[in-house]
């Protein structure tokens, strides 16, 4: 049997591919959710009453092989409490130009304050915009949470928070939060 010319045989591959499942994603019109464990943008989590989980210990910065994380701790005071216990992260920055999304930081975090989301759209047009500040990384306030600074739930200590027995903000906290007070006033 005479063989088909090489050039025509090549189209056979093309022809067969037409019957295969399409793998091309129509990004950005169509966004396909990544796998659940995909390493995306970081998030700084909150306790159930809205206090921050981050204690400013810098273990994430220590673990980071790319030196992408900058943290400065500070004292919680009686007037301004951001996290249970004594210490909170006053400054928290992740430089996404440096981050290699390895996830060592979230493994290092002793309070599970730092986790990674599935968000991957992290392109931008300047270096400054790619340094994410604490306000960019903090998890949104869910229903039942009150924006810090505010006191811990009355009658609890930081141990109750770490044992996860605090399940939400108490009515007292709603009134003690300056942010809430402002909202009420306006």
């Amino acid at each position: 049997m005479p063989e088909l010319p090489q050039a025509v045989r090549g189209f056979g591959v093309t022809f067969l591919t037409m019957f295969k499942k399409v793998v091309t994603e129509q990004y950005p019109e169509q966004k396909v959710p990544p796998k659940p464990r995909f390493h995306g943008r970081h998030q700084l989590n909150r306790w159930a009453d809205g206090l921050e989980k981050c204690v400013g210990c810098e273990l994430c910065a220590w673990a980071c092989p790319a030196d992408a994380i900058f943290v400065e701790g500070a004292d919680n005071s009686d007037q301004e409490r951001f996290s249970p216990g004594e210490r909170y992260g006053r400054v928290y920055q992740i430089n996404y130009l440096r981050c290699i999304f390895c996830g060592l930081c979230i493994e290092a975090c002793p309070t599970r304050a730092l986790t990674m989301t599935n968000e991957y759209e992290l392109a931008d047009d300047s270096r400054a915009k790619l340094i994410y500040e604490k306000k960019d990384l903090l998890a949104p306030l869910l229903p039942g949470m009150v924006a810090p600074p505010h006191e811990m739930v009355p009658g609890t200590t930081e141990r109750d928070y770490y044992a996860n027995t605090v399940k939400g903000a108490s009515p007292e906290q709603v009134t003690t939060s300056p942010a809430e007070a402002e909202e009420v006033a306006s």
Binding site: G56, C57, E58, L59, A61, W62, D75, G85, E86, T111
Partner: protein
């Protein structure tokens, strides 16, 4: 063990003062450590012998400068012939002894593992929020010799945290492993046993008496030597992690003790300072001022040059300001006074010295921004300037007797105090000429030689035979403080006493730059290296080094001290160059202000806004210690060079700014530290005839009640600003009087001097009758400004008044 052969007539040429050390033969014994036979001096501890072999036995309580206590038991080792493991930190080796550490003995390894597990039972493991995390011996040794997992499942001991043992030092009791380093330091080194181990068993904790916080001048050292995170300082708590910090070895700028420091910074801001290890000087300690007072570095800084236009200062560019300074100074050439601050580096002081003599053609220069006298200047020029080391720290330690004249070492040179206390514990007799037997003299087991303020010279000339005999012993030392300037005839009497007894004589200034400024010739009548200005040869030497004609150098000694200020006030000097001087520090602040106000043209080289910059015509901002390199010379005469911490700082040192002004005036100066050091080194010290020693007749104390006073370590000093926790540990501002006077006065006293009065609480102390002690410059009592007084000024006391 070494002894120092201290010959006052032939001082060591070695700057470190170590050249005269004589090794004393020691008995060596043979011991076996981990199977290695070695010879060590008799009395060596097992832990030290192991260190010599490079074997690290875990330890918490062990500290080479503290007595062994064997409190933590982490260093257990096996000793041949002993039934149980022994603590290596307290086990004195004897001849033929065989010891085995965890590396060769299963018994030692298991014992150490057990102790580590035991120490961790109640330890909270809150490393993520603990300041020590990352540099913690407990963390490290738990990893190296501890068990991988704890078998303890019970509830851990809990305490309220943290508690303040002082305003500056915080204590997290549950982290403590009861090693007793802090309490031993407080008791053995500082002599302030205000913290102690309380309770027993699992409840054992460090604590203070209920009404007496740990307000020791040396409390910060306990934070540094704490092997866990139990003691932390309020100023550094949660500021950073060890791996964030860049560490630079530096020298302390606060006093003339000359401590070696480690400065840690993060992102252009100093986060903490630690005492660094220098066995010849500060050992491993420093004072709280040197450790915590650094916030001033970033506060109130002058950002850019300024020049005065139509009566007010405006920002100017560097070329404009340099030009304005050069024009003004060129007009006044030959009639300019130069005031150099007491905390200049020796390089900067040298630049002022050379700038004054060449560009300004004047010898009116003085570095003493404090009470100063012509007698003191003569004393310093004849005896101290450019002179080799006469007494060093080691000499204090081996001295049979040390006489303090107008010097309160704990306040005025804290490391001298620590060394004297160490010496006194080993048998040195400390004597202090003064009006009050202070608590610090008690800590040195010292004896007071009573002298009313102003009467020191008579007291020195009429010392009893027993005291003279003490000072006549080989190795005896006389230490003279900066306040000798306020006592007529005292400097002459001290020189006389040193000549008679053969005791070594050393001047212990309070400020870090004074000795260096003196050596650099920043004093009228004195050229660098202690050269007398009036000496032909000396002028020729200096002129050759400076590249000028000897005939162009001033040959008549200029004005100093109050004379210089009066000349400026009265218009006899037309310009002033003021470098880092606080006008309130002068004995007569009003005169100093008038001098700066009345001078036609004032150039101020300053890093912070001050009274001088308010009045100056040209303000040139200069670098603080972290922004330049340089050298301080401590009281011994030992150079304390330090490097630039912030290498990308844009500020310039005094020397560089002066070089630019000199260039604009058609003169030249070396601008960088290296070339100044080279020039000073080439000049070297003066070997010819020195200026004559002062011979002033003894003055007498004023009648009535007189003031005794000195500056406390922690006071209203400008370099302590911005550190409220440190300020809160300062001693209270009180008036101290004798018991009989206190009985007459009641609870408070109003002290009235020539310029005003202050009202202070009365405290009874060991003070001579008709003398009242007050701090010179503490909150609520600034004797120069508030009272118009100096030590020795007669004052009126009246009982009561609102305190």
């Amino acid at each position: 063990m070494t002894v120092t052969n201290n010959a006052p007539s032939g001082p060591s040429p070695d700057v470190a003062g170590a050249g005269t050390d004589v090794e004393v033969a020691v008995d060596l014994i043979t011991v076996v450590v981990d199977g290695v036979e070695m010879r060590v001096p008799k009395g060596t501890l097992a832990i030290r012998a192991a260190e010599q072999l490079g074997i690290e036995v875990p330890r918490f309580c062990d500290h080479p400068l503290l007595d062994p206590v064997a409190a933590c038991r982490a260093c257990l080792i096996e000793v041949e012939g002993m039934p149980k493991p022994q603590p290596a930190c307290a086990q004195v080796l004897s001849d033929g002894m065989e010891v085995r550490t965890q590396y060769s003995s299963e018994v030692a390894r298991v014992a150490q593992e057990g102790v580590m597990e035991f120490l961790l039972l109640n330890h909270p493991l809150d490393c993520p929020v603990c300041d020590k995390g990352g540099e913690c011996p407990l963390q490290n040794q738990a990893m190296s010799v501890g068990r991988p997992e704890s078998r303890f499942t019970g509830a851990k001991r809990e305490f309220e945290k943290p508690i303040n043992v002082s305003a500056q030092v915080l204590l997290d009791r549950e982290r403590c492993v009861s090693c007793a380093r802090c309490t031993r330091f407080a008791e053995q080194i500082a002599g302030d046993p205000m913290i102690e181990l309380l309770e027993r068993g699992a409840k054992q904790q460090v604590g203070t008496a209920a009404d007496e916080p740990f307000d020791s001048y040396f409390s910060g050292n306990t934070v540094q030597i704490c092997p866990v995170g139990a003691l932390t300082s309020a100023s550094y708590r949660f500021r950073s992690r060890p791996f964030d910090l860049v560490s630079v070895p530096t020298a302390c700028e606060h006093c003339a003790s000359g401590c070696s420091l480690r400065t840690d910074y993060r992102r252009g801001v100093v986060t903490r300072r630690l005492a660094w290890d220098d066995p010849d000087v500060n050992e491993e300690w420093n004072c709280d001022k040197g450790r915590f007072a650094f916030a001033y570095l970033n506060q109130g800084r002058i950002e850019s040059p300024m020049i005065r236009e139509h009566g007010s200062l405006r920002v100017a560019s560097w070329p404009e300001a340099i030009d304005a300074a050069a024009r003004g100074l060129a007009t006044a050439r030959g009639s300019v006074g130069v005031l150099v601050g007491g905390r200049s580096t020796v390089e900067d002081a040298y630049a002022y010295s050379r700038f004054a003599r060449t560009a300004l053609a004047t010898d009116h220069i003085d570095f003493r921004a404090r009470q100063g006298s012509a007698e003191e200047a003569a004393f310093l020029s004849s005896k101290v300037a450019g002179a080799p080391v006469s007494a060093a720290y080691d000499d204090l330690e081996s001295a049979p007797a040390v006489l303090l004249v107008s010097l309160e070492p704990e306040d005025e040179s804290p490391i001298v105090f620590l060394r004297l206390r160490k010496a006194a514990r080993a048998g040195t007799q400390v004597l202090s000429v003064g009006a009050t037997a202070t608590r610090s003299l008690g800590k040195m087991s010292g004896r007071l030689v009573s002298a009313r303020p102003g009467d020191e010279a008579n007291a020195l000339r009429s010392l009893d035979d027993e005291t003279r005999a003490l000072l006549g012993q080989p190795g005896a030392v006389i230490l003279v403080g900066e306040r000798i300037a306020g006592s007529v005839g005292a400097a002459s009497a001290v020189l006389e006493l040193a000549r008679e007894t053969g005791a070594a004589l050393a001047w212990v200034p309070r400020r870090s730059g004074e000795r260096g400024a003196l050596d650099a010739g920043a004093l009228a009548g004195l050229l660098p290296g202690g050269r007398p200005l009036t000496d032909e040869q000396a002028r020729r030497d200096v002129a050759a080094a400076w590249g000028v004609e000897a005939a162009d150098l001033p040959s008549e000694p200029g004005l100093i001290g109050a004379d210089l200020l009066e000349a400026a006030r009265d218009g006899r000097l037309s310009a002033l160059v003021v470098g880092g001087v606080e006008l309130a520090d002068f004995a007569d602040p009003g005169l100093a202000v008038a001098a700066v106000e009345n001078a036609d043209f004032v150039v101020s080289l300053e890093n912070h806004h001050s009274a001088v910059t308010e009045l100056a015509d040209v303000v040139l901002p200069v670098a603080v210690v972290t922004e330049k390199s340089g050298t301080f010379v401590n009281w011994e005469g030992r150079p304390r060079p330090f490097g630039q911490v912030f290498r990308d700082a844009l500020t310039m040192s005094d020397a560089r700014v002066l070089a630019m002004v000199a260039e604009a005036m058609g003169s030249s100066l070396p601008a960088d530290v290296a070339s100044i050091r080279k020039e000073m080194g080439a000049l070297g010290p003066w070997t010819g005839a020195r200026t004559p020693a002062p011979d002033t007749a003894p003055g007498a104390s004023a009648d009535g009640v007189v003031i005794a006073s000195w500056r406390q370590l922690l006071d209203s000093g400008l370099m302590q600003e911005g550190e409220p926790h440190l300020a809160a540990t300062a001693r209270p501002t009180v008036a101290i009087v004798s018991a009989s006077m206190a009985a007459a006065l009641g609870e408070t006293v109003t002290i009235s001097g020539p310029a005003g009065s202050v009202t202070l609480p009365v405290v009874t102390g060991d003070v001579l009758d008709r003398v009242v002690w007050v701090p010179t410059n503490s909150p609520g009592c600034h004797i120069h400004a508030d009272l118009g007084a100096v030590p020795g000024t007669p004052v009126q006391l009246s009982a009561g008044g609102a305190a």
